[in-house]
């Protein structure tokens, strides 16, 4: 069916504020009497705190307060598993853990105060390597993690945070059916999200004790619950005010420094602002889990996969507190199955405690790691079987009815069409333009996110409609998408629909932003609310009796007998649909044999999508995710030495620049079968995960070396080339 506004490439209507610097992010919130909080962090990976002396710091002019764990209630915080203190109490467990906090008139004075805090530590043995952490006799990161609120029951070793399993068929029997069995081990790096807005928050306590919060947090309603728990206050006493977020990519769902800001506000009687420096982000944000992934696959001689076992070891760091999923693990582990029909499958994902930076969710959590391993593994097998990598994939692609790792039977699957589209657009079968040039293909697919969202629509007296929503804007343009949906349903122009930001007082709950859910859950909530309002308007129009009466007339008619036409809808989708979105990507790279430098000459990305509500925003999601994937593949790595992050600025942790991006071809295969409004699917996490393996496979094609660990640096390729038998 044809739409008026849905499907239009409309520019961002919130753009005027954003391009003119008027948008107020959390760090921009200023209040009378506002003071600054800064955190003192542990320089040691594991130590007992013997003594903290804050006297000199407190004596510094301009300092209003200095707090240690002693001054705070003895509570543990987290998103799902509550294992992290707000300030280290008796022990520090990673370099960068917070041990004290100071409030001062400006951030430099607060910083100065931190240097005057005297902390006496007793070093304790530390373990920073995930594999070493689960050996017998490894130093324990936590004495009894099982006792923590929200801790999963299974714990093969006290340093295991959580275990997540996916299983199909009988994997041992499956391997017995195999003619050949291949096993490879892959490693991926620790990597920060790279959002350019460091965590920021402002907390103010009203005279009536009401706690006002402005924070770079994408789940305001969950934040309210978590804060109530952390601060031991009734939920009703906390109000989170939605603020625009300067990039999330999975990283902005935690409490971060907000409990400290509250306690400083409580003690100083002033509003408190806390903004992390980027060095703090890189040392103590909640980056993507590094991994060691072993994939073992049994195939028949004609190239059919019969069995696969995957074991993923994620170095989760000192605390599980940043992981939001009930499993306290990474759902992306399920992608160990790839986009393939695997009758007998066993995936085991371990998140392991170490004395290093606690990791969290990052755009498609766990997937770039698993897809790099799985899709590199596929090419390595294809090579052994003497099959074209694309052909080997063809023989094993998921088709309708096949079971996914999560047990669903796939519906409307278009793995094959997506692959063929990418191959065609990338000239896969054409001869390569020269020596040391190679092509690589990789695929993935992703579910459409689930969750629950409230939407409220109200007909204004001037005939326009206000859409009240509790989803903050993380940058994706979701609010515009929601406006398009409401305008479409009510047959209004876009200007006639305004988005009104809720606070956490407005609605009972909302699952917030994340997991490729917003267009689906927010969109459906807005859609159904608009449908309800449309019905009321129709009924009201009949009462008025003037056919074709304007919305303004109708609104005023209702207003005359004291009514406002408005409707709410709570959309709640807990179970993933059996529909997913497939991605196929092809990288063409050139390798400099003298240096090992890899240059991506062109990149092709093909996506199996639903109805596209805003093509401009949709393409923006594809391009942004893809370049994040490029950085993950080639340049982004948080270097570590004995648990200390050694890349503490964006001068050392290198994000791609505008001069590093390859020529890009995008292919979209629309199929109107999504669970979202107007049969939309999701796109936010579709383009990131297959980039690294596509490049790794292209490098292998170009020069015959196989890089098993990310990032694919020139140095790794160079030395691999040197060791390669001529």
């Amino acid at each position: 069916m044809a739409h008026r506004i849905v499907g239009q490439p409309i520019g961002r209507l919130d753009g005027i504020e954003k391009v003119s610097g008027a948008t107020r992010y959390s760090a921009d919130v200023t209040l009378p009497g506002l003071v600054w909080g800064k955190v003192l962090r542990s320089p040691l990976p594991h130590a007992r705190i013997i003594r903290i002396d804050t006297a000199m710091a407190r004596a510094l002019p301009g300092v209003l307060a200095v707090l240690t764990a002693r001054d705070l209630p003895d509570v543990l915080v987290g998103r799902r598993m509550f294992d992290m203190p707000v300030l280290a109490r008796d022990r520090v467990r990673f370099i960068g853990e917070k041990v004290a906090v100071a409030a001062a008139l400006d951030p430099d004075i607060a910083d100065e105060a931190l240097a005057l805090i005297d902390v006496e530590y007793e070093d304790l043995p530390a373990v920073v390597d995930a594999a070493a952490a689960i050996e017998d006799g490894a130093p324990l990161v936590h004495e009894n993690p099982g006792a923590y609120e929200g801790a999963p029951p299974e714990r093969p070793h006290p340093n295991v945070q959580s275990v997540l399993r996916f299983a199909l068929g009988d994997v041992e029997a499956g391997f017995r059916e195999a003619d050949r069995i291949f096993e490879h081990t892959f490693r991926t790096q620790l990597a920060h999200h790279g959002y350019l807005e460091p965590h920021a928050g402002v907390v103010a306590i009203d005279h009536d004790g009401r706690v006002q919060v402005w924070a770079s947090n994408k789940m305001p309603f969950r934040l309210k619950e978590l804060l109530a728990h952390a601060l031991q206050l009734p939920k009703g006493q906390i109000r989170v005010n939605l603020t625009p977020i300067g990039g999330d990519f999975g990283g902005k769902g935690s409490l971060m420094d907000l409990p400290l800001a509250y306690h400083l506000a409580r003690v100083t009687g002033r509003p408190v602002k806390m903004v992390m420096s980027y060095a703090e982000e890189l040392m103590a944000g909640n980056p993507r889990h590094p991994s060691i992934i072993t994939v073992r696959t049994g195939v028949t001689n004609d190239g059919r996969i019969v069995a696969r076992r995957v074991r993923a070891l994620f170095n989760a760091g000192a605390y599980a507190a940043f992981k939001p999923a009930p499993s306290v693990n990474l759902g992306g582990a399920g992608m160990g199955a790839g986009v393939y029909r695997i009758p007998h499958l066993a995936i085991e994902s371990l998140c392991v405690y170490t004395h290093s930076i606690p990791c969290g969710h990052a755009r498609s959590p766990g997937e770039p790691q698993m897809v790099f391993a799985g899709e590199s593994h596929m090419d390595m097998i294809a090579k052994e079987l003497g099959l074209d990598p694309a052909e080997f994939r063809r023989r094993n692609l998921l088709a309708d009815g096949d079971r996914l790792a999560n047990g669903h039977h796939l519906e409307h699957g278009r793995a094959k069409e997506t692959l063929e589209a990418a191959l065609k657009a990338s000239d896969w079968s054409r001869e390569k333009p020269g020596p040391w040039i190679g092509r690589g293909v990789a695929m993935t697919h992703r579910h459409i996110g689930v969750g629950f969202t409230n939407a409220h629509v109200r007909l204004e007296s001037k005939g326009t409609v206000a859409l009240v929503i509790g989803l903050p804007d993380t940058g994706t343009g979701a609010h515009l998408v929601l406006r398009q949906i409401v305008a479409e349903v009510l047959d209004l122009s876009l200007d006639e629909v305004q988005v009104e930001l809720a606070t956490t007082d407005t609605f009972e709950t909302d699952s917030g932003v994340g997991g490729s859910r917003v267009t689906h859950t927010g969109g459906r909530a807005a859609y159904h609310a608009a449908e309800k309002l449309k019905e009321q308007i129709r009924a009201e129009a009949e009462k008025v009796g003037t056919p074709g009466a304007s919305f303004a007339t109708i609104a005023q008619a209702a207003a005359r007998d004291g009514r406002t036409l408005e409707a709410s809808y709570f959309y709640d989708a807990r179970a993933h649909a059996a529909v997913t979105s497939f991605t196929a990507q092809v990288a063409e790279v050139a390798v400099d044999p003298q240096t090992g430098q890899v240059t991506v000459r062109r990149f092709t990305t093909a996506h199996d999508v639903g109805t596209i509500i805003n093509p401009l925003g949709h393409q923006g999601q594809i391009e942004g995710g893809l370049i994040q994937g490029l950085g993950f593949a080639l340049s982004e790595e948080l270097g570590t030495e004995d648990g200390r992050i050694s890349t503490l600025s964006l001068g050392d942790f290198k994000l791609p620049t505008v001069a590093d991006i390859p020529p890009l071809t995008t292919v979209l295969l629309e199929d109107l079968v999504g669970p979202g409004p107007f049969r939309a699917k999701a796109i936010g996490e579709g383009s990131i995960s297959a980039v690294a393996p596509a490049i790794a496979n292209a490098v292998a094609d170009a020069c015959g070396v196989r890089i098993l660990d990310l990032p694919i640096t020139a140095e790794k390729v160079y030395f691999a080339l040197r060791e390669k038998p001529a």
Binding site: P43, L44, L114, A115, L116, D118, D123, A279, E641, D642, R644, S646, L648
Partner: protein, 159 residues
């Protein structure tokens, strides 16, 4: 970071050992050490000023002799020092081994060094190089303290 350095001191092992066990005396041979006094039989407190590039460190801390085994000619000590103004410090475990050489005694120093806080953010590799120059000067001072002339330059090596 761990690294190993060696230097040759052209005196007999016994004499060198006895000298090295006199921590304040040895301290005076370490470039930048300002004062060093005994806290108890095995622990000493002192101050060290060193420059890494433009950064001037004023480290205050303690050295503890954890083991002095004259049979094995091996001593282990732990050093902890902080710079209050910069916010940061160092933790070091040193193991000294004396091996007889053709001429005099070869001192082997195995160091496990952690540079903490802001100082560490400046660049660990540099600090490793810095340790070399420190050892060179230390060896030179040691020789003159023992009133001998260098027979060969110290030869820092990394493993």
């Amino acid at each position: 970071m761990t690294f190993t350095q060696e230097c040759l001191i052209p005196v007999a092992r016994e004499r060198l050992w006895d000298f090295l066990m006199d921590v304040p005396a040895v301290g005076r041979c370490v470039p930048g050490v300002e004062r060093i006094e005994a806290v108890d039989a095995s622990a000493y407190r002192g101050g060290l000023r060193i420059g890494v590039g433009p950064i001037r460190l004023a480290l205050e801390g303690t050295i503890t002799v954890e083991e002095a085994d004259r049979e094995a000619w091996r001593a282990r000590m732990r050093a902890e020092a902080n710079d209050r103004r910069l916010g940061g410090g160092i933790r070091a475990r040193l193991s000294l081994t004396l091996v007889p050489a053709e001429v005099g005694t070869r001192v082997r120093i195995d160091t496990d060094l952690a540079v903490l806080g802001r100082i560490g953010e400046f660049g660990q590799p540099v600090i490793r190089k810095k340790a070399d120059t420190l050892l060179e000067e230390f060896a030179r001072n040691l020789r003159s303290a023992l009133a001998v002339h260098p027979l060969e330059p110290p030869t820092p090596e990394h493993r």
